[in-house]
Symmetry: C2
Subunit: 220 residues, 2 copies
DNA sequence: TTTGAGAATTAGGTTGGTCTAAAAATAATT
DNA sequence: AATTATTTTTAGACCAACCTAATTCTCAAA
């Protein structure tokens, strides 16, 4: 069965918002993610329900079906492969690729994606460090390391904290670190293991080894 | 101004059918090229006229405007660059690329095309030997050679004949050669300059030097 | 347990691109 | 020149994807 471009986009948004089918998603959430109105979303949910890529009960919510997940992962795979292409081969900066990849992800040609994958040397992660699903939709999630174990000049993204006490989160917030931030290790002090990192290519933060060991990074 | 995908496709078809604005094109021709019905074409011609990419007078015909030519050449440029990419980088066969390039040509991103062009080393011809317009729409047409001047194993495409008498054209038709045919030189006889060529990868033809000298080829 | 507030859905309309069937314009033939 | 044939355009409909406005549903608070 063929999905339209709009259907692919909705399905991808639903997949992301529901965190792969785990969380529930509201019509309003989808509308704001897709920059459309809730009325349009209801309409589309009915259609997606008819195509059985979601299970949809009016007013109650929805659930992505296995079929739906496969479609979503396929689109995500294409998006991320194209991002790798743009950055690795065409020298795009990592923040310039999204729009173009949004268009390229809808090109229909299994052969193209197969060849592109080979041409790029079967990358497992996109330029943002997000994993690229394989052709069956399987995702290898990247191992996470503690920030204090990283070396100078390595880069990555904050994905979780080990100490999730309010005090610690407040501290992170205060210094400008947050889940999802992209970081780069600028310096490490051998003496006490304290570390200096660059957040989002603009803000520099110093922190003790103790703090750093509570921050989990996926490297990129 | 932005053209829709359908508008780009119609404009490209009109450009090709009119041979770059030289010949006149009928509604029926466009319909059969686009695999739509004449009624749909009339509708679209009105829209293209309003956007001033063609000059359209009902029942009388149409003329591509300079603006229209620029759009058409831009689309053709993108199509052919993508074809080079598919063949040179992703190892597609030359007859597998068209469908995919039809999709890729509609991706909107001037930066992408600029970078792709550089990545491919500013190719001047696509895998079919057709010239790639530059970003201003200028086309460098490939120098044409007489078939008898080609060497063994060289390939190319028949683009014109020097003797266009009915007798000669009838002869060409009879042996299975035609304008547009892809050919490869299989053998040349030193003694009398006669030549053996392979047409469209299937048919072998022998011809005298005299005949060959009246056939013009662009090499690829 | 009734009642609002807010979320979600339906009703009805618009636009782009297509279609069929009918009408109009042009071209061809007697 | 008149009639017929062909091409082209218009009229009216449909589908996908969106919209606004009105309605319906749910859920929490009074």
């Amino acid at each position: 069965m063929e999905l339209t471009v709009a259907e692919e986009n909705y399905l991808k948004a639903i997949y992301h918002l529901s965190d792969g089918g785990k969380k529930s998603v509201s019509t309003n959430d989808i509308a704001s993610e897709m920059k459309t109105k809730p009325a349009s979303v209801s309409d589309m949910l009915r259609k997606l329900g008819e195509k059985e890529v979601i299970e949809y009960r009016k007013y109650y919510g929805l659930q992505i079906t296995d079929s739906g997940k496969r479609y979503a992962l396929q689109t995500i795979r294409k998006h991320r492969l194209w991002e790798v292409f743009l950055v690795d081969k065409l020298n795009f900066a990592w923040d310039e690729v999204h729009e173009v990849a949004e268009q390229l992800e809808h090109i229909q040609s299994p052969l193209l994606i197969q060849r592109l994958d080979a041409f790029l040397n079967y990358p497992k992660f996109d330029p943002h460090g997000d994993p690229i699903p394989d052709e069956f939709g399987d995702v290898r999630s990247r191992p996470r390391v503690q920030l204090n174990e990283m070396e100078i000049n390595q880069t990555g993204q904050i994905v979780a904290v080990e100490d999730s006490s309010a005090a610690f989160l407040r501290y992170l917030d205060k210094v400008g670190a947050y889940i999802g931030a992209r970081i780069k290790v600028l310096d490490k002090v051998e003496f006490d293991g304290s570390i200096e990192i660059l957040v989002d290519q603009k803000k520099t933060i110093f922190m003790s080894k103790d703090v750093a060991s509570n921050i989990l990074i996926i490297q990129s």
